[in-house]
């Protein structure tokens, strides 16, 4: 499927694994950490303007609302660049959200697109049947100037999904289960392709979460077969025309892995790698200091609804700092209208404007030495959320909510 999308964007009828192709880009993305470096490289190129003012998106989401003077300077740099070059999709604080939740919501990415972003979680849009992958700032600069990027055609691993997830299990548990199985380099240089009858049982938000963490298995992208759920989402959010690519029935894969969704249990990744997973019944006693619900992985409306269904009428453990980050303004507003924000505040939770914030140890919830957080984010590397001697455990919104109430890593069933 990935091969077909890349071939079409390179003007070729077919491509082979390992072939280098120059592909036309439908969108180039950057944030407030990566874009300043790209602006510097862009200026060195000596080109006048960007290839297409509509096909570039710049989102100041990492250290904004500006956390300090240096961050403010970085945001100023990209704001001035965006205005100077007439870039239409620059999202200021107040309109911005976490980039990978924002772009599909704004209809900027649709089925069949090729997207590069100077952020490793750009692979999120595979949920829509698009090819999207993370690159660095220099590739972003070259992409903004030329509208093109070179790619090496990847091999693919096929995941055949069957069955339906149990109660309190969601897309996050599925992807943590998969990363635990294949390892943090299990899909290195490869594409992860999801197909099978189980796909129909995954909501679009579940799919975004699963595609989002493809990079945590080393993959180039994580892409879902397109169905009515995908096309309905695209229709509701975009005026762009989706182009559906389908894998050939005799397509060759490096591996085929079958996964019965009904057998997956709530799963937690222990420090300091996302593949260090245990199911909830194997966790033991892990006392917490902080719980975070949000990020490009799990800050969407379904995630907030799942958390609210557990928090309703309860309060968090008084020793725990619980933080919730709706991923976009639209999600925030919807959560407000549905009464979810009220549930969170009554439970004793701090609710924040959208930002990547603590996920990468930026701001808004940094850990001290020896502290321990349970988080719905995507990485638990050494020092990821603060002090090098702090710890991050990764889980679903349901496990995070239950654990905020008990004060230690807990199954939702313990509190419901």
């Amino acid at each position: 499927m990935t091969q077909k999308i890349l071939a079409a964007h390179a003007g070729l009828n077919e491509v082979k694994v390992g072939q280098l192709v120059m592909a036309n880009l439908d969108l180039v993305l950057g944030n407030d950490v990566t874009t300043p470096v790209a602006v510097n490289e862009f200026n060195k190129m000596g080109v006048d303007g960007v290839f297409d003012k509509k096909k570039i998106a710049i989102v100041p989401d990492h250290f904004s609302p500006n956390k300090d003077i240096k961050s403010a300077e970085q945001c100023k740099c990209i704001r001035e660049f965006a205005y100077d070059k007439g870039i239409e999709n620059f999202f200021e604080v107040g309109q911005m959200g976490i980039e990978h939740a924002l772009l599909p919501e704004k209809g900027l990415v649709v089925t069949g697109d090729v997207v590069i972003g100077a952020d490793s979680h750009t692979c999120t849009y595979g949920a829509l049947g698009a090819f999207s992958t993370g690159v660095g700032s220099t590739d972003m600069a070259a992409g903004m100037a030329s509208g093109k990027c070179w790619f090496k055609i990847p091999e693919a691993i096929k995941f055949v999904l069957t069955g339906k997830m149990q109660k309190w299990v969601c897309g996050k548990d599925v992807i943590l289960h998969i990363i635990g199985m294949i390892g943090v380099d299990g899909a290195l240089y490869q594409s992860m392709e999801y197909t099978g009858p189980g796909v129909a049982n995954l909501s679009i938000d579940d799919r975004f979460t699963i595609s989002n963490m493809a990079i945590e298995a080393g993959a180039k992208n994580g892409i879902f077969e397109v169905d009515d759920v995908t096309l309905q989402y695209v229709k509701e959010h975009s005026t762009k025309t989706p182009v559906v690519f389908k894998a050939d029935t005799d397509a060759v894969y490096s591996r085929v892995i079958e996964i019965d969704l009904s057998t997956i249990k709530p799963t937690v990744a222990f420090p300091h790698l996302p593949d260090n997973t245990r199911t909830i019944d194997e966790v033991g006693e892990v006392i917490l200091d902080q719980v975070v619900i949000g990020s490009c992985t799990n800050g969407r409306i379904e995630d907030l609804r799942m958390a609210a269904s557990i928090f309703k009428g309860k309060t968090v453990n008084p020793k725990i700092r619980t933080l919730i980050f709706p991923a976009t303004q639209k999600i925030y507003l919807q959560a407000l209208r549905e009464g979810l924000i009220e549930i969170f505040i009554e439970a004793g939770i701090a609710v924040s404007t959208p930002t990547c914030g603590p996920c990468l140890g930026g701001h808004m919830g940094i850990l001290a030495k020896g502290e321990r957080a349970l988080s719905t984010t995507n990485r638990n590397f050494v020092g990821r959320m603060g002090h090098p001697q702090s710890e991050v455990y990764l889980c679903s919104p349901a496990v995070a909510a239950a654990s905020a109430i008990t004060g230690k890593i807990s199954s939702p069933e313990e509190v419901m």
Partner: protein, 164 residues
């Protein structure tokens, strides 16, 4: 040809330990280099000498797309990285900024911390001077060698005026 002492690390060295996000509120290469590898090896910046060669296991540079990671390593003085495998975004970024990186399982496993090593990027020949052994990595395709010798993609493109 590069020559220097090997500084060796293990598997899955991630971009957060190469350059922690708390320092990403700047893109100044020298400021970034001052914190390179800080969360994994506090003594790194103090001991690294110009030309030294970093050696590691599998999946080097996994995690974030931050180009600040290879930039910090290059600016601190590392001439070349040898690993069993690299994470793909890190690989792209290193080539794009003109930092040579070589995949060679045998060299990555056999070279020990402190060994004197030389690397010929054009041929992919890695020599362990201390142990008197040589290893062979796949050489870069011609266009990648040209990007590296142009000190990165931007200069390479400028030289060819491919970007219009």
């Amino acid at each position: 040809m590069f020559k220097g002492k090997a500084i060796k690390y293990g598997n899955n060295v991630d971009t957060d330990v190469i350059i922690p996000a708390r320092y990403l509120n700047t893109s100044d290469a020298k400021e970034l280099a001052a914190h390179c590898m800080e969360d994994l090896d506090k003594g790194f910046v103090g001991k690294v000498k110009d030309g030294d060669i970093m050696v590691a296991g599998k999946n080097f540079g996994c995690g974030s797309s931050r180009e600040h990671a290879p930039l910090a390593i290059k600016t601190v003085g590392i001439s070349c990285i040898i690993a069993e495998t690299f994470a793909r975004i890190f690989y792209r970024n290193s080539i794009n900024i003109g930092l040579p990186i070589l995949e060679c399982v045998e060299a990555a496993q056999d070279i020990e911390d402190g060994n004197d090593v030389s690397v010929d990027v054009a041929t992919g020949i890695i020599t362990n001077i201390t142990k008197g052994k040589t290893y062979k990595a796949a050489p870069f395709p011609a266009f990648m060698q040209e990007i590296i010798s142009a000190e990165g993609l931007v200069n390479y493109l400028k030289e060819r005026t491919e970007v219009k």
